[in-house]
Each structure stands twice: as C-alpha cells, then as structure tokens.
Symmetry: C2
Subunit: 390 residues, 2 copies
C-alpha cells in the first residue's frame, strides 16, 4: 500500500510539473471548463430552455469541438463551422424541398443521390492542399450538416424550425468560445511563432558558441558537459511542421499587441527556413566534432584562433538578430559589425590554412570542419540580409 | 462568356488531373458517400426508424467524423470514439443520478461543478504528448459525451433510453465506417509508410547518381537539365511529420497483406531518420555544387574517376536496399558488394588527394565536396547495417 502511495504521489508530482512547465495549459483547460459551464446555462435556465429545447446540445458540441489552444485555432474552427453550417443547412433545406416533388417513393432515392454526390465531392475537395490548409474543418462540417439536414428532413416537417434552432445554438456556442479564448488570457499563435523563430536563432547562436569549446576542449574540462548547449540546434531540424501550423493559424487572428492585422507571417517561415538550413550545417559539423579523430596539435593551434573568433562573432550576430526580432526593432549596425568581424576571421582562417600546407601532408580530412564553418557563416550572412526586412 | 468557359474547363481539367494523380483519393470520396448512404437507411427504412428515432443522426455524425483516408486512421478514431462514448456515457448517467440526491436546487450546481472539473481535466490530459499521440480524439469525445449526457440529463427522465439509443447508433455508424474502409479498396497506413521509406531511399540513390553529372558536366550538355533528378532528395528533408503520423496510424491496423499484426513500425522511423541524415549531407553538398566556383581542371580530372565510382556504387547499394525493402527480402550479398566497391573508391580518392598536394596550392576549398562525399558514404554504410534487420 505504501508502495502504491509512492507511485501515486510520483504521478501527481509529474502532472503538476507538466502543468508548471507551461501554465497556459492549465489556464486553457480552465477556459474550456468555463465555456462549457456558460453554455450549459442554456439548459439550466428555464426561459432559455423553453426557446431552444434540446438544440442546446449543439451549443455544447460546438464548444467542445471548437475550443483550441490558440486564438487562431479557435477563430478558424469557429468561423469555418459557422459558415459551413449556414451554407450546408440552406442547401439541405433546398434539397429536401426539391426531393418532395418526386413523391413519397422518389424522395429517399433523390435524397440518397444528393447526399452521396455532395458528400463525396466535399470529401474529395479536402484533399486539395489549399483547402486542407485553411478550410478542412469547414468541409467536414459541410458534409455533416448537409447530410444531417437532408436525411432527417425526410422524417420531420418542422425542418425550418429545427434548422433555425440548431444554427442559433451553434452560433451561441461558437461565440462563447471565441469570446472566452480572446478575452481570458489569450494564447496567440502569431506571438508563439514570433517567439519560436527568435528562440531558434538564439539556440543556433548558443550551439555556435558552444562549438568552439567542443572542438578545442580546454585541458581541464573534458567535454560531455557543454554538450547540452551545443546540441540545442537539434530541435530546429524538424520544427517545420509546427512553424507551418502556427503561421497558418496566425493568419486567422485579428491584430493584437504589437502585431497588426496583416502582419507578414510568411516572412517568418522564410526566416525559419534559413535558420533550418543553418541547423543542417550544424548537424554535419556535429558529426565531425564527434568523430574523435582529430588533426595534429600543431595544425589545430594554427586554426584555433580564427575559428574561435569566427564562431564567437557569428554567434553574437545571431544573438543580436534574435534580440532585434524579439523587440521588433532594427539594430542593423550592431549586427553588421559582428558579421564583418566574423568575415575578417574567415579571411584569417584562409590565410592560416594556406600557410600550413607544407606541414599537413596526411590529414587533409581534418581541415574540413573549419571550412564547413566558413560556409555556415556565409549562410548566416544570407540569413541576416533576409531578416533586415522584418 | 467564352473566356469564362475556358476558365471553367481549365479548372475541371485541373481537378481531374488531381484525381488521376492518386486515384485512391477518388475512391475514398466514393467510400464516404457509400457509408453515408448505408447509414441513412436508418432513417429511410421504417422499422429501423421506429426503433432508433432521431438518434439515427448520431450514426451520420459518426460516419462523417470517423471516415479517414487510411484504415489506421479510421480504426483509431472509431475505437477511440466507441470507448470514450461508453465510459463518458456511463459516468454521465452516474453524475446525473448523484446530482439528483441534492434536490432541485442543488442539482444544476453539482452538475456544473462536475462538468467543469471533468471537462478541464480531460482537456488538460490532451496536452500530454503520449495521450495526444494516440488518444487525443478519445479525450475530445469523452468531454463531449460526458457534458452532453450530464447536462441534458437535467431536463429529461428517459436518460437511459436516450443513452442506449445514442450508443447503439454510434456503434452502428462506427462499424459501417470501419467495415467500408477495410473491405472496399483499403488504404493501409503501414503500406504507405513502407513504400514511402523505400521510395525515399530510391530518391537518395537518384540524387547521388545525378550528382556526378552535376559536378562534372560533360561538355555537350550544360546542366539545368539533370537538376530535377538531383533535387529529388529535397522532399526527404522535411518528411518527418508524415512518417511519424503514418507510423502512428499503422500501429492501429490489423495484420494485412505482407505485414503481420505487430510489424516493427518503429524500425521504419529509425531507417527514415538515417535516410534524412543522408539528405542533410546532400543539402550541404548541393550548396557546393551550385556555387560556380570550381577547382582547376587538372585537379578535377584527378578526382573525377574515384568520385564517379563512389557515387555510382553507393547509389547502386541504395537501390538494392530500396528493392530489398520493397520485396521484403534480404539481399545483403549484393548490397555489401556495392558498398565494398564504393569503399575502395573512397580509398582511391584519398590517394588521389594526397598525390595532388603539390599542385593545388590555392584552392583547398575546392576539395571539400569530394571529402564530404566520403562522409556521406560512411553514413550510407551505417544505414545499411541498420536496415539489415528489417
């Protein structure tokens, strides 16, 4: 029993830790709870229940499904749902009236054909990348509402009343969700994207600055310790999916804080792509650093100085860029100064390499990391140029 | 008007082309239509309608929402939905009975608290990566069903009948979907993953073999032509998301075709990771190839021969691997032969580099592509070793 208790307390601690990691998660859960409670008033309050009846459940359904973590997600789902329900509902009512012309026998056949063809068409449309990206959920709801209205219209005569009640409760549910998500501790997808890009550049800078200590370990401290910092770039390699999603959601968001309505979200993707390009270079470089097979000391000593300057200055430049993104202010002068410094270092490295020719006659392979660094720096310079637009 | 007609015909052609690209998309749309039509029989056929009533709409809702492109997707959603509805429904009925003890005044308060806390808890649980990966949809449906049952239970006395009807129609809808998706031209996520990994290796091989022609263009044909083939590896760089999703869905699928129930899907992710690593190297290499700043011809001639052999043999090895994955047969002998050949070529390249020292005294930077190739080959060897387990 005491063992069981241990396990339970450990679990609970884990959960609490997870919540502390990003308190917005707890807040979001609370927000969903609040929206649910608000909407359930449609049932508890007698006058509301009398006017909406069991349709209140559509409001509950909408709240549960539309509540997303970010404002952009909620808005896109809510608007998609609203418009899709509206058009599909109208079409459905039309279909039912059309089918009535064909008599009692023909009605189900006509309805079946219509449901089949519209359902298949809308499902097919969801495969198109553009529609999938922005209106996937809308298409789903369209199929849902249309088939529901068309099919159940066969058995009821009060189809208009029903449609009206459902639509209004769905609108209520959607509105509650959107209001709660915007006004109670909002989580903006755009802001997340903004921070993520800046952080990724910072990670790159850390890895770059950690690289020197990794490749030229000081005698007293043997690596394995700075590792965590050098490995920071790893998460950038595969962050494309998250960035795309965030940028996609950010487009739905209204202006907020420092971001205007038509903020150039696509530029973030461009910058993120360049940052990822840099991270690819790091990945390769990392392979060389890990292979314990190093150049002779004499040669190392020669290239250490310029490489150290190169990575330090380029790291500084990246940090300056990250900062200027975070504060949304241009500080090109400082960035350029650091880049110029690192370029000079590249030049020095070239000279150092040339002068060391006669000595190195068997380990050409060892010089590569240094030169790969040079190419990284060129990438970085490219990156900076693109960023100066943001 | 004729201009409008042009635009329309062009659009239609585009859509048809898109369908032809992957005819499974059209089939899938049809399947959704069929499932919808089957389920709508619940309304059209009188005896069925009498026993289920308006609850038939839950079957429609389930069909629309559960129908996914792959069998794994449909199964995971269907099972998630089934179990979540079952447990949440039971809990909801329990909650309503519990709340009744507190009299007419207390009932909505107790229900509100329960809905708030369970809704928030389930929403929070969706943030955990493990739950998100496999049971995200289940948690959503849990919140949905629980709050719906608990809240509407306040206004109706026939809650058990209602719950029974809904559950049975949801089960009918889910079963129809799963049966249709498995037995009518199924699309297996596992098979897609399998093919994707094999194709990616093939793409790598093509890029590798195209590389030679790119870096040492024959006098008569100036590049820009082989480009498409060399660039094939690009799509691998960011394919991680799709692979993860497919592997995730594949785990839900029963044994089919050549795959047993507990096929080691994780191994595919491992192989895919190695393939991506290779693609990173290509990305860097590509940068060097594009920079029009090339080594002196004399030097190029010296390294051309071993580099050509290297890339050809490594490409052959990759193709043999892709083939052995596709046919699920081991052909290690052939793969190893090619790898040995390319290793010998690496040795030759090393010798060629050594012998060319005195001549090259200013363009050390130009030798890098060759040496990067060597490191790619080492990666490839690693990759092969891992693959021999599959």
């Amino acid at each position: 029993p005491s063992k069981l208790k241990d396990v339970v307390t450990k679990r609970v601690k884990n959960v609490l830790m997870f919540g502390k990691d990003d308190p917005r998660r707890i807040i979001h859960s609370m927000k969903v709870g609040v929206a649910l409670t608000l909407v359930s008033l449609l049932y508890y309050v007698r006058p509301l229940y009398l006017s909406f009846g069991v349709s209140g459940m559509w409001a509950i359904l909408t709240v549960v499904v539309v509540s997303e973590f970010t404002v952009g997600g909620t808005l896109s789902k809510g608007l998609n749902r609203g418009f899709a329900t509206l058009t599909a509902g109208a079409l459905g009512v039309g279909a039912v009236h059309l089918a009535r012309f064909f008599g009692h026998q023909g009605e189900p056949i006509i309805l079946g054909i219509l449901v089949f063809s519209l359902g298949a068409a809308a499902t097919f449309s969801r495969f198109f990348p553009k529609i999938k990206q922005r209106y996937d959920y809308g298409a789903l709801i369209f199929v849902l509402t249309f088939s529901m209205v068309a099919i159940s219209g066969y058995r009821t005569d009060e189809i208009l009343v029903m449609a009206y009640q459902r639509l209004s409760t769905i609108l209520i549910g959607g509105t509650v969700c959107i209001l709660v998500s915007i006004f109670v501790c909002p989580v903006w997808a755009g802001e997340d994207l903004h921070k993520m890009v800046a952080n990724n550049i910072n990670k790159l800078a850390n890895s770059l600055e950690g690289f020197e200590g990794e490749y030229f370990p000081l005698p007293e401290k043997i690596s394995n310790e700075t590792n965590s910092c050098v490995r920071e770039y790893k998460s950038i390699l595969t962050s494309k999916g998250i960035e795309d999603t965030l940028a996609n959601l950010a487009r739905w968001e209204p202006g907020h804080g420092r971001f205007r309505l038509r903020h150039p979200w696509k530029k973030y993707l461009k910058i993120a792509g360049l940052v990822r390009q840099c991270a690819f270079h790091f990945e390769i470089l990392n392979g060389y650093v890990l292979s314990n097979y190093k150049a002779p000391e004499e040669f190392q000593n020669k290239i250490q100085e310029p490489i150290a300057t190169m990575s330090r200055e380029a790291g500084e430049a990246l940090k300056a860029i990250a900062k200027s993104i975070k504060t949304m202010s241009k500080d090109t002068a400082r960035v350029n100064a650091h880049i110029d410094n690192s370029k000079t270092a590249v030049g020095n490295l070239r000279i150092a390499l040339k002068s060391s020719y006669p000595e190195t006659d068997k380990d050409l392979l060892e010089i590569i990391p240094g030169v790969t660094m040079a190419s990284i720096l060129i990438e970085v310079v490219n990156c900076v140029e693109k960023i100066s637009e943001a």
